[in-house]
């Protein structure tokens, strides 16, 4: 085995006195773990949402009055269809249904199953016979959160909705949406569009809002301008806006986390500075001896630098791996509630692993730079120890 004598000595010092390093590595692990988990969760959610964006409509047109969204008339659909460059204009009917007993709410979404895209998507979820069965009666597809909630309140096979008109409407629970889509479907109830109108108390000529696609990206701005000019109370949201909102949401949550971490890091730096000043001052005689035996300041600095780098690398790999295990294997219990909220229905999402250069380098920089900076001055102080210390 060809190793350099310097390396050999570095390892000797490092492993024979490992007790000195374990404390620092432990604190580092905690910090890296928390930081890594927060960033992993937010980037994973952001990744999944960006994946679903491809299926979302390019534009959503809403009617607003006094800043509040109100239902739009179906007549708008025909107007929009006449604009050149617009395809796939579909009405959307949705709203929240409050489960009075516990003050929880579901998202009721009405779907026009005759629509081509909806039909295709539905086929991705169930086979032919199921499909026919489903369309026959008053059936609903519910998210996992809804299904659990209903079950605990003794509605295992369906639920009787109370419409705003005071009529009871019984709907069968046909199927639970897969757990994998929990990120968006947890509190969702999918029903045929007419049924949704009934439950939400909307008129036949009303829709919640209108979704439309513009296949030519270059025309987006033009079309948005054109639609906005149609009515005085129209509000147009583009896919870009949604994308930005996601970006902001997770920058916001991640950012708040990071700012909290800055405080932690400052404390960390102070502790490190103290600790290394202490550890190193106990090594004073040793270093003095090394210096007396012909080690230059540069050699000692090199030794201490590599020692620090070993700690940084060990802590970084372990910390990130722990965070990975916690978030992507165990599903980040507790911490994910900060990102998803835990006020309504408990959501157990499956977080798709996302590791990229941006996250890893961010974690590394925010940990390693304060760490090494804190150790720098104590290291220098010990490295310039007078060789005559060895004579005392």
């Amino acid at each position: 085995m060809r190793t350099s004598p310097f390396f050999h000595f570095l390892m000797l010092g490092f492993f024979k006195e490992r007790k000195k390093h374990i404390g620092v590595i432990a604190i580092s692990l905690v910090i890296l773990f928390l930081l890594g988990s927060a960033l992993f969760i937010s980037s994973s959610i952001r990744y999944s949402l960006n994946q679903t964006l491809a299926w979302e409509p390019d534009f959503v047109v809403q009617r607003t009055q006094g800043g509040q969204k109100v239902n739009a008339p179906t007549a708008w659909i025909d107007d929009l269809l006449e604009v050149h460059g617009i395809s796939k204009v579909t009405p959307r009917v949705y709203g929240r249904y409050f489960f009075k007993a516990k003050e929880n709410s579901f998202l009721i979404v009405g779907v026009d199953f005759m629509d081509e895209q909806s039909n295709k998507a539905l086929r991705m979820m169930m086979d032919e016979t199921d499909l026919k069965q489903f369309l026959k009666g008053d059936n609903m597809l519910v998210g996992e959160g809804v299904s659990t909630h209903l079950k605990t309140h003794f509605y295992p096979n369906g639920y009787t909705f109370l419409t705003p008109k005071g009529v009871f409407k019984k709907v069968n629970l046909f199927k639970v949406l897969p757990k994998k889509s929990n990120l968006i479907s947890n509190d969702m109830i999918i029903v045929p569009i007419e049924l949704a109108r009934e439950i939400l108390g909307m008129g036949e000529d009303e829709v919640s809002d209108i979704a439309l696609n513009v296949p030519n990206d270059d025309e987006w701005d033009n079309v948005a301008d054109k639609i906005s000019a149609f009515y005085y109370d129209i509000h147009v949201t583009t896919k870009e806006d949604i994308k930005k909102a996601y970006e902001n949401l997770y920058n916001y949550k991640g950012g708040v986390f990071l700012i909290l971490f800055l405080i932690v890091i400052v404390t960390f730096v102070l502790i490190l500075y103290q600790r290394y000043s202490m550890v190193y001052s106990s090594e004073r005689r040793h270093i003095g001896l090394l210096r007396a035996l012909g080690w230059s300041i540069r050699d000692v600095l090199k030794l201490k630098f590599f020692e620090t780098m070993m700690i940084v690398v060990i802590a970084f790999v372990l910390g990130v791996a722990l965070a990975y295990l916690y978030v992507f294997v165990l599903g980040a219990p507790l911490l994910r509630e900060i990102f998803l909220g835990g006020a309504n229905l408990p959501n157990s999402v499956i977080l798709v692993p996302v590791l990229d250069f941006g996250i890893l380098s961010s974690i590394f920089l925010i940990y390693a730079i304060p760490f090494i900076s804190a150790v720098l001055i104590p290291t220098w102080k010990i490295a310039v120890t007078d060789p005559k210390e060895a004579m005392l």
Partner: protein, 236 residues
């Protein structure tokens, strides 16, 4: 033909403590030739340890010069003075100064690390100097577990590791019993035969009658009292 190895020219050293200036060495002039053995004798506080560390480049003079093989070492930048220590000086300390958690061989390795040799050469040199100091059989025992005499021999092996021309000993027998002290003197005479320049700072009377040619220089209150040559071999 005697070659001047170390030349000390009007060397002064003082420490400041508060407003008082503490003069440790006062105008020392000395020439040490290659292959000579010098014993600096004096009570503690006479400045012999300070003189020794200035010769070894461990401490800096306040004024005056130390020339080793014609080159002044008292004003060299750290990188160079460290190099000088690593190549030219073998130090033997009063308290052995070994790393207790390392083995004997690893202790001997330390001065060889900054010289940039590869592992193979280093191991070879370690083995040679351990054998020279007659402690090779304990190469792999932790230094902390060795007896006083064994520790001393490891310290000697370490001082010899980079094959230096100059060996400096600071109170080498202070922590040894009489038997081990005599063994130390044996090794010292071996080194003398090898042609090393040796400087010993001690107050041990054992060094008054060394079995080989040496020069005893008494020190008192920071100055050399008198220099006289004493041929102990001729006397015996």
């Amino acid at each position: 033909m005697m070659k001047a190895m170390i030349v000390i020219d009007n060397l002064n050293k003082h420490f400041k403590s508060g407003d008082d200036i503490f003069k440790v060495l006062k105008g020392i002039n000395l020439q040490i030739n290659s292959g000579e053995c010098i014993v600096l004798k004096g009570v503690s506080g006479s400045g012999k340890t300070t003189l020794l560390s200035i010769i070894g480049g461990l401490d800096r003079p306040s004024s005056g010069k130390v020339l080793v093989e014609g080159e002044s070492i008292s004003k060299l930048p750290d990188l160079h003075i460290s190099h000088f220590r690593a190549r030219k000086i073998g130090m033997i300390f009063q308290h052995f100064n070994l790393f207790d958690h390392l083995t004997a061989a690893e202790n001997v390795m330390i001065p060889l690390i900054p010289t940039g040799l590869d592992m193979h050469e280093v191991n070879h040199k370690v083995e040679v100097s351990l054998k020279l100091a007659n402690i090779f059989h304990k190469a792999n025992s932790a230094a902390g577990r060795l007896s006083g005499g064994e520790k001393q021999r490891v310290a000697i092996a370490r001082a010899l590791a980079s094959n230096p021309a100059i060996i400096l000993c600071d109170e080498p027998t202070a922590n040894l019993d009489r038997n081990n002290s005599l063994k130390f003197i044996d090794i010292l005479s071996q080194l003398h035969e090898m042609g090393k320049t040796i400087v010993v700072a001690t107050h041990d009377p054992l060094f008054d009658t060394l079995p080989f040619e040496s020069k005893i220089i008494p020190m008192e209150d920071g100055s050399l009292v008198d220099t006289f040559s004493k041929d102990t071999l001729a006397e015996s």
